[in-house]
Symmetry: C2
Subunit: 226 residues, 2 copies
């Protein structure tokens, strides 16, 4: 194999077939146990755990490796409360006229309303920002596939939260521009998701929902003779 | 705690603090080892592994739990080749005029061009589709936060691929509508990402890139006295 300048060789993990199967089955089972949680304990979580979770998210691939994201971790109770107030103001409007009848109906099973106590209770709010462009010496440099890239990173983030035995809710107060203002973020950052993270409350209620079975989400295009 | 109809209680994982720290550190280290790979082996991968990977992706949360995605797993060599031909046709145009100078420059480190042999070589192509709406008895029912939701699911997918010791490239031939046609997907599905999956080639070359350090992606808003 020729040696290409600017390249290196990659040594990846390799598992025997039986172990690969076991690993994939066990991760699947483990991830099936994840659920969105809206009832948190205020119990402290070591900041180091949050750092590992965020830096796991930041290993995601991205268009032209631009890593067009930033993660703001809010543990300051005063700031969390400010975020709660602003989010509830928007949500109040959403639940009182801005969301369509169809939308409100679709939310029935979740029992959600405009009140968001979890924004005070959860020890950390992770605000995921996307960067449509970077600012390099004041000049705008376009990023690529920004929504896809930041979505992948947020997926890594949620996996890492579950892996740590913590819970989260993927919250989208809308519009959520207030996050940019409250956190004083630069003009090239747009809020993507607001993710409270912590231990679950002693008793957590989750809606009785199921996931779609394989037949509804996986379609195999095999060779005719397979 | 009151018993709410339509709800159930959630028993989640709980780890002692030291174990939580260890788990989060180890996952972080494990995920740091993931890299995008464009050189595949044609070695067979058990289909059952792919099923677990896809069903892991499908555990992602989504707006109003609509699960607005489908995963098409292509192992048929004839179909893979058709996809390769169509992708290369678009990529040829991209690399010969459709991409800006700035974009081409940003891609220099990856050494990519219009040729996509991995679309033939990788044993599986997973095409992730998003569904802006569902079709219920021929009526359009809007989905919510579709890009965010499908991005999260694709993040779960890439984590699960790495967990199995397999490699992938997050490919976005553009425009990629041809995927909808070749696979005969319903009108409410739009291609989101095309992800070849398999074992790496015996020698894999990856660009000498680094990830952004913590200071550039993680911003802690702690209480003044913290
Ligand atoms: N779609 C082209 C070009 C390309 C490649 C990598 C990348 O991160 C980005 I943004 C674009 C191709 O696949 O070659
Ligand atoms: N943003 C509101 C409403 C809401 C809630 C859940 C959900 O999946 C969707 I789509 C919307 C809220 O957070 O209550």
């Amino acid at each position: 194999a020729e040696k290409k300048p600017g390249f290196t060789t990659y040594k990846c993990m390799r598992y025997p077939k039986a172990e690969m199967l076991k690993r994939s089955r066990e991760l699947h089972q483990f991830m099936e146990r994840r659920r969105t949680v809206r009832e948190f304990s205020d119990k402290e979580v070591p900041y180091e755990v949050i750092e590992h979770i965020v830096m796991t998210a930041s290993t995601a691939p991205s268009g032209a490796h631009k890593q067009p994201w930033s993660f703001c971790v809010v543990s300051d109770p005063a700031l969390k409360h400010q975020i709660r107030e602003a989010a509830e103001k928007e949500e109040y409007e959403n639940y009182h006229g801005r969301m369509s009848e169809e939308w409100l109906e679709d939310l029935q099973p979740f029992g959600t309303d405009w009140e968001k106590p979890f924004l005070d209770v959860a020890p950390y709010l992770i605000v995921v920002f996307k960067k449509p462009y970077d600012l390099v010496d004041g000049v705008q440099k376009k990023n690529y596939y920004v929504n896809e890239s930041v979505g992948l990173a947020a997926g890594f983030l949620l996996s890492a939260i579950h892996n740590a035995g913590l819970v989260a809710v993927t919250h989208t107060p809308s519009p959520m521009n207030f996050l940019q203002k409250i956190l004083g973020r630069p003009e090239n950052e747009r809020p993507f998701l607001l993710i409270p993270v912590g231990y679950p409350a002693d008793v957590v209620h989750i809606p009785d929902l199921e996931r779609k079975p394989k037949e509804e989400v996986l379609f195999h295009y095999a060779a005719p003779k397979d």
